[in-house]
Symmetry: C2
Subunit: 135 residues, 2 copies
């Protein structure tokens, strides 16, 4: 059965593993940063998200806000009002991601701060087109 052209059944997680399912939803470079901003700053508008130092682009921000809203991890502060100046905030489910971000931040602080590792970020791209870094 389809709803507005979207298959409502036959939609699948990659596996039944909860970690895998979490990554199906949040496994990208932007979604958790939006959650981070909401944890740090509280309710936040579209243009405030754009001010974060990572400089997300407008179309990606819109698609992620859309997805997180759909997942009920965020919601509008004023559900009835127009979108202008109508901030987003975390729902209970979104706020429950705090321990994940704390663990991730703690890990990065202790295991990722060494500057030597930074060059590795080019690794994947280099594989495709350029010379190899000699490790």
């Amino acid at each position: 059965m389809d709803i507005a052209g979207v298959k409502a059944e036959g939609v699948e997680w990659r596996s039944m593993c909860p970690i895998s399912s979490a990554l199906d939803v949040l496994g990208d470079k932007w979604s958790l940063l939006i959650v981070r901003d909401l944890i740090i700053h509280g309710p936040r508008t579209y243009s405030q998200f754009l001010e974060s130092p990572e400089r997300i682009s407008t179309n990606i921000l819109a698609s992620r806000l859309d997805l997180l809203t759909c997942l009920k991890l965020i919601e509008r502060v004023n559900p009835e009002a127009a979108s202008r100046n109508n901030a987003y905030r975390l729902t209970e489910g979104g706020a429950a991601l705090r321990p994940v971000l704390e663990a991730l931040g703690k890990w990065a602080g202790t295991h990722l701060s060494a500057g030597e590792k930074i060059a590795c970020l080019h690794r994947i791209r280099d594989r495709l087109s350029g010379p190899q870094y000699p490790y």
Copy 2:
């Protein structure tokens, strides 16, 4: 200064935020699944990774093993030997990701198990080409 064509300076994290840096490195759908497999099963070979239920493709697996090795989050069990049957295992830095995966798994178990949310996975793709799901 360049090393083998890779700029060793001028490489940058998106920001100084540790969460952002963690996502620069691990923010995709596959890297943390490799770490998960190593936590669950212990040392694991290339072909064993391919058997995981999420069905990673060979080129992506190779690039991620390469990246994680470069970041010193994983290593070969026998660094001197040839690659055949030479499993990968977690380093201390990689094993330190366990709390992240535990938090993520716990969150998904409690906040992502409801079947109703599954259709949201099509959200982003639908934005680009198809009709909208009526939420």
